[in-house]
């Protein structure tokens, strides 16, 4: 079956968000664009396995994410596991009078382990539901929730954002995990 014009148009319209997700994973725009390119080729080749009417964006994000991790493994880079990350590796960026600079934010985001970074980006920026993010990351919904929560807590620590820590992550983590998150 030929690739339909509609499918091609949908691929094109997904490129901007695929690039944003790729940059957040790879943290390098050249590598990110290589990832997007590889994703488009794979999506084109596998277009018959995409079920019309289901979420194309989520399908493409899944392909991109799988490609990212498989490239990391090929490079022999160990995938970061958030459980093994110590707070001490985080440099503290003093925020200026509570105003968060985008550059500081980017630097803070880069310090997160991949699993937390992808979770908070998928939920907080890409517009996916927890359920969709769980499918994309091939893990449980509760795992996504706790990763988002930990990511947010850690970003607050790094950026020394005050005024929201007491409201957010701990209560969510408590619902998810039945106990407060340390860290």
């Amino acid at each position: 079956m030929a690739v339909s014009a509609g499918f091609k148009a949908d691929l094109i319209s997904a490129i901007p968000s695929l690039r944003a997700f790729a940059v957040s994973l790879a943290q390098n725009s050249d590598r990110a664009d290589d990832l997007v390119q590889e994703t488009l080729v794979k999506a084109w080749d596998k277009h018959e396995s995409f079920q019309m009417g289901t979420n194309l964006k989520a399908w493409l994000f899944t392909i991109l994410r799988n490609e990212f991790y498989s490239q990391m493994r090929k490079r022999g880079r160990e995938v970061q596991d958030s459980d093994g990350v110590m707070t001490s590796r985080l440099a503290v960026h003093p925020s200026q009078q509570g105003k968060l600079d985008l550059q500081d934010f980017r630097a803070a985001l880069e310090q997160l382990p991949e699993d937390q970074r992808e979770a908070i980006v998928l939920i907080g920026a890409s517009g996916f539901s927890y359920e969709e993010a769980a499918v994309i990351c091939n893990c449980a919904v509760g795992t996504i929730k706790s990763r988002v929560s930990r990511a947010r807590t850690r970003l607050q620590e790094i950026l020394q954002v005050s005024g929201e820590a007491e409201y957010g992550p701990d209560s969510i983590a408590a619902q998810v995990m039945g106990s407060p998150v340390h860290g």
């Binding site: 690039r19 390119q37 509570g98 907080g124 947010r152 950026l159 005024g163 957010g168 209560s171």
Partner: protein, 67 residues
Amino acid sequence: MDRMEKPADTEANIVRLNKNGDPLGPNSEIGRKLKQYYEDIVSEEIPDRFSDLLSRLETAERSKNEE
């Protein structure tokens, strides 16, 4: 004029939003920055390499089908 950065209702909004289960909503500073970071990339112009790539894929498929 040394007004405070945050409007008075910000904290109340944070509480309300988080009760609704959105810890990264518009009144979360982390949530706002995250969206700004992401939208900056989304709004970049799409590099030509991607439309070129899709055209090549399309051409390759067409010639394959004509064989």
